[in-house]
Amino acid sequence: MVEVDSIKKYFVKRNGFFTRDEKVVKAVDGVSFSIKKGETFGLAGGSGCGKSTLAKLITGILKPDEGTVSLNGAVDIVFQDPFGSLNPRMTIQEIVGEALYIRGKDKEEIEKRVRDSLRMVKLSDSNTLTKYPHQFSGGERQRIAIARALIHRPEFIVLDEPVSSLDVSIQAGILNLLKDLQQEHSITYLFISHDLRVVEFMSDVVGIMKEGSLVEVASAKDIYNSPKHEYTRHLIASIPTI
């Protein structure tokens, strides 16, 4: 379903206006993996290790310097920063229904599906549809971004920290929902999170990323029961018990 082959993305930065001092950030530095149809690949790693850059390379938002990505079917992404990714001048109905408007579905059907989609993410207030993104809480915006991606049932969805602002109860509901939809429609996920407990719950295969590279890839079970790489062990040892 998804094949990522030795992709690289470097950013070159100058430190200040007048200096020639250049610094290369190797955001993604030769990453390869694949995801089977209907499965979830969980991606975890430290802050700034390249997860969001990898997500953007896979969905074609950024072009890799080297390497290839091949996908089979439609892909959508839920961005880490929902506020930045929701058009501030569009209503929630327009944002969530956008993919359906583009396909020329009729108005009534769109409104019904938008309502269903919002209900699934526990946003069912009667006046939600006509509100704008700034009129919601952080976690509500995150759920709007999820509803927007789920509405047109793409074959593959990249979820970049999709539940990071949700209370554990609503988080649990969203994770259940993602699993149910996967079962029903064999959706494939790339699930990015810094919370290894959530990654374990969601994933078939887990990749641990550090400084632009995948240092370990294994089944969810093996990663947690017998982590091989030192960094993986470090991350697992730090998982809180509460």
């Binding site: 430290g46 802050s47 759920r143 609503i170 649990a172 810094h194 470090h234 730090s238």
Partner: protein, 266 residues
């Protein structure tokens, strides 16, 4: 205990809808007051009210926010500007949106220090160095623009900025949602250490109970605009009284959990 700020009977509506319902929260010197609870329950709005930053459409039905004997909801915009950033600073929930997109992040922190602290050039560089090291960022990072940073790096820049002026009160709204646990712990431990040295008060909003456990002294649990349970951390975490608090604790993901689904109704 030295009470620095008190939110009293605060009630806020958007039109007919009540989003904060008779909320009472205090911030104490040297202590961390945590606000946890449901997404959309009014946590961020409660924090924004303390800085008189509620959205224009918000109707304050009742209540006051007392800081140094003044009601923050009533004092003039000029007065409040002097307080914001300097005496009370805030780490916003969506830091990327709170940062200036066309300014290098180091310059944004520098600006705070110059405006509020009138700091000298050589001290300035030293202070910036210190702030970047507190939040575990290399100084190079400072020369980037917000869009060139990762989610967690933006959060760390926000934390550095909020700490920069040695505030009396630090409000942190979901400050570490993009940080891996080791970095999160390192930074939060340092924040507590700095708090011990300077004795400021913290209002800490989070949905993460392990962070509550790490940071909090007092905890308030919110649902639908109402504080349903308040108490000291140990009591709330180990013997929660309210059903909603117990439900939340049940929903915490656990490693090696055999559950294929979480125990919640649809």
């Amino acid at each position: 205990m030295d009470k620095l700020l008190e939110i009293k009977d605060l009630t806020v509506n958007f039109g007919e809808k009540c989003v904060i319902d008779n909320v009472n929260v205090s911030i104490f010197a040297g202590r961390v007051t945590a606000l946890v609870g449901e997404s959309g329950s009014g946590k961020t709005l409660t924090a924004l009210a303390s800085l008189n930053l509620l959205p224009e459409a918000a109707l304050i039905k009742k209540g006051e926010v007392l800081f140094r004997g003044q009601d923050m909801l009533k004092i003039s915009e000029t007065e409040i500007r002097k307080i914001r950033g300097k005496d009370i600073s805030m780490v916003f929930q969506e830091p990327f949106t709170a940062l200036n997109p066309v300014m290098r992040v180091r310059d944004q922190i520098k600006e705070m220090l110059v405006i509020h602290k009138n700091i000298k050039k050589d001290e300035l560089d030293l202070r910036l160095k210190e702030l970047f090291s507190i939040v575990k960022l290399s100084e190079d990072t400072g020369f980037r623009y917000p869009h060139e940073l990762s989610g967690g790096m933006c959060q760390r820049v926000m934390i550095a900025m909020a700490l920069s002026c040695n505030p009396d009160i630090l409000i942190m709204d979901e400050p570490t949602t993009a940080l891996d646990v080791p970095v999160q712990k390192e930074i939060l431990d340092l924040v507590r250490q700095i708090q011990e040295e300077n004795n400021f008060g913290i209002l800490f909003i989070t949905h993460d109970f392990s962070v509550v456990n790490l940071m909090a002294d007092d905890v308030h649990v919110m649902k639908e605009g109402i504080i349903v349970e308040s108490g000291e951390k140990q009591d709330v975490l180990s013997a929660p009284k309210h059903e909603y608090t117990r439900h939340l604790i049940d929903c915490i993901p656990r490693l090696g959990d055999e559950r294929k689904r979480f125990p919640i109704q649809d």
